[in-house]
């Protein structure tokens, strides 16, 4: 195992251009995280086409998107603490103790302390990622079409954890994504499928069009519906630095949260919402001897905040080593790689070390930038919470239109985005989640092409799918992973439910 890629990555990440891009990404990410209306996936979906059409190289785009992703995990805490509304999914548990602290006039302290826990979590997560990333690269050469197909099976199996309360809907979402991926030129036989003789559909549905439709257009409609549910921003921030005693008291919680967060992040399919819930409940069980959790305990604030940041870094492990997205957000980032004609997978580290290394190194740098942004400048971000929707949403829509137009310069694709967005809204109303559609779309083409190529190699003999050690291990892992996170998230949910009853503040 060699860390050359990482030193090479630092050389990439420390160029002034990439430092600037990282800084911009961290800033936008914190902003996106702080705004309850949009999460990291919306931010990434909007920025990806713009970065691409600006002609940024692949590694710079990945640095930008990763910075946004991590920044959002930092920023999410701001609205959790000040509004009692989580800024993104990973910040749900941060409100449990953060909001009570803010109500006691200790909002500034809560922001500072959680900023530091975020930093520790992010740093521990990044170190874990740096150690993990090269582990699998030696296997890469053994990956032929058959192994890739089984890898995709494994990827779909990990969806077990995203299944949530309505598994049928998750699976339908996946199938819809797979179906959308079949539109366009068939990469094996050269036949046109479902293009309705429209040449603009010949190359299939652009990833950007799908992502922006699902995550921006439908989001704008949802924001309007949710508008007007009164929330009040706490404006009295009080002391803006963390107390030394609180830091000492929360050290254990922060480190435990980071480790739990990273491990859960590495498991594909489990995101920051699961890890923050698990770390919070674990911490409560370990430390809450006086029953102060939920009433403004600093440990209850530090633990989930460290965890969600560590998870964001951990999520990159399956993405960078296997090309398997662990969450909707990493699925979008994989799609961004494909925009650059970079095939994600075990080959990535050997073929494009500057992309993997640059991303990992930029996370190290980014955490320091984020710490700097989130301690002294937290006031600015807190003020952003008061930006009214009528000013924010038009901005989202403009960015959506420009994003799609700049990658395709065709009005047809904007209309396609609009149609997809509208259908996405209908699906969301019917209780569907958008992330499985993206996962199905990203994985679908790889899955079909590799299955067919594997069978082309073997002449139709399906034993090729079980023919190598790698495939067999993957089949076993697929079976294992399908059931483990299901069990984990069910447990987390049960605990969360128990707590929601005890503390109605979360609603």
């Amino acid at each position: 195992m060699s860390f050359d890629y990482l030193w090479q990555g630092f050389a990439v990440a420390l160029t002034w251009q990439n430092l600037l891009i990282g800084f911009i990404g961290c800033f936008i990410g914190t902003l996106v995280g702080a705004l309850p209306a949009i999460g990291p996936i919306n931010g990434i979906a909007l920025l990806m086409p713009i970065a691409y059409s600006m002609g940024l190289p692949a590694e710079s785009t990945m640095i930008l998107l990763a910075a946004v992703y991590c920044g959002a995990e930092y920023g999410g805490r701001i609205s959790s603490i000040l509004l009692n509304v989580p800024g993104d999914a990973g910040a749900v548990m941060t409100a449990m103790d953060g909001y009570p602290m803010a109500k006691q006039g200790r909002a500034g302290e809560a922001l500072a302390l959680s900023g530091i826990s975020s930093f520790v979590g992010g740093l521990i997560g990044t170190i874990g990622l740096a150690l993990f990333a090269p582990v699998l690269s030696g296997l890469a050469i053994g990956f032929g079409p058959a192994e890739y197909f089984v890898l995709m099976i494994f990827a779909f199996a990990t969806l077990g954890s995203m299944v949530g309360s309505q598994p049928v809907k998750t699976l339908i979402g996946c199938v819809l994504g797979l179906m959308l991926a079949t539109v366009g030129l068939d990469a094996t036989s050269g036949a046109y499928r479902f293009t309705f003789a429209e040449p603009e559909l010949g190359d299939g549905i652009e990833f950007v069009v799908l992502v922006i439709g699902l995550f921006s257009i439908s989001e704008a409609m949802i924001i309007l519906e949710h508008q007007g549910k009164g929330v009040t921003v706490i404006r009295e921030l009080g002391r803006m630095t963390a107390r030394w005693a609180d830091l000492v008291r929360s050290t254990g919680a922060t480190i435990r949260g980071s480790l739990i967060g990273f491990v859960i992040g590495v498991l594909p399919g489990t995101g920051a919402s699961v890890s923050s819930a698990v770390s919070y409940t674990t911490e409560k069980r370990i430390s809450d001897s006086e029953g102060t959790f939920g009433k403004g305990d600093v440990r209850g604030l530090a633990s989930p905040e460290a965890a969600n940041n560590a998870t964001a870094c951990g999520c990159f492990v399956p993405m960078l080593t296997l090309g398997v997205p662990g969450s909707g957000t990493t699925a979008v980032m994989l799609g961004a790689l494909m925009l650059y004609n970079i095939q994600p997978g075990p080959m990535l580290l050997t073929e494009r070390p500057e992309v993997v290394g640059g991303l990992v190194a930029s996370l190290f740098v980014g955490n320091f930038i984020l710490l700097a942004l989130n301690l002294p400048l937290v006031n600015i971000f807190a003020r952003v919470l008061t930006v009214p929707n009528w000013l924010l949403v038009p901005g989202i829509l403009v960015l959506s239109v420009i994003g799609v137009y700049s990658t395709n310069a065709s009005v047809f694709s904007i209309f396609l985005m609009l149609g997809i967005g509208f259908v996405g809204w209908l699906l969301r109303k019917a209780g569907f989640d958008m992330a499985p559609i993206i996962l199905g779309f990203v994985l679908g083409r790889v899955m079909e092409v590799n299955l067919r190529n594997a069978l082309a190699i073997s002449g139709g003999d399906i034993s090729i799918l079980f023919g190598s050690t790698i495939s067999i291990v993957l089949w076993i892992m697929a079976a294992g992973v399908a059931f483990l996170p299901l069990f984990l998230s069910r447990r987390a949910k049960r605990r969360m439910r128990a707590m929601t009853v005890a503390d109605p503040a979360l609603d």
Binding site: G55, I141, F143, G144, G190, P199, A409, A456, I457
Partner: protein, 324 residues
Amino acid sequence: MTRMFTKTLTGAALMVLAMTAFAAAEPAKPECLAGAKPGGGFDLTCRLAANALLETKQISRPMAVTYMEGGVGAVAYNHVIGKRGKDGNLITAASSGSALLIAQGKFGQYDETAVRWLGAVGADYGVLVVAANSPYKTLGELVEAYKASPTEFPVAGGGAVGSQDWMKGTLLAKAAGQDAKKMRYVALEGGGAVLTALEGGHVKVGSGDAAEMVKHHVAGKVRILAVMAPERLPGELAGVPTAKEQGYDIDWPVWRGYYVGKDVSDEDYNWWVEALKKTTATPEFAKEREARGLFDFTLLGKEFEERVHTDVARFKILAKEAGM
């Protein structure tokens, strides 16, 4: 389709502008349309024209390179025919792959006579490659091995059935006297994937292009068994025999060139042909062409138009033979 202007050239352009007298029929807004995303083969073809024409002062203003992705050039082809048929400013990049798609009716309702073919300015050549540790050292050995067990011989290429890489594979099958339809063709995404599949031992032979494979050949990762050119290629591939030398009549040039709309005036058409003729004769052009991995292949005006028409006819026969 993205529109990006070759802004790096603006400085140079201003200087040229100050120095050159305008040619009589020079297009006011020279533009090259690439029927794909930035970075692909069409982009490369456009940039070759944009750089070389400006460098050799055939045009005084920088040429804009615009992009229109879709159907491997089909969207651009239909766009030029439908909307820019008279536009003398615009040239559009094409390759022998375009002729192959036209032959298969994949460019929509239009055939090769719907545009005016301007000229080809360079070519790459097809190659057959095996992994470095493969037992086959010559094309003859490969063909014999294929003949011996055609059903256990996966051939990989960087494109779908009907693509150029697939056609090259069918030529191998034909050389071995086998049915191309029964060939175990593995359609991968691009030459990089072919390389990986060869190295991993998943396929026995790959078809690709010389320019892309040569560096891996030199690095010792793969072995090029034959180039599909009429004569040996210069440079690092001088040591690799042609298919013809080894007794197989397999020829596959991948030319790169341009077309303009059907209703472009003869003056404009001739201006472009003349400009390309002058440019391609210069050493600066040769350097630009080599930098893009292309070999000498210049065919302009009428001759090129005839070449495209015979290519399309030949591809139609080949595709039919192969079972399309």
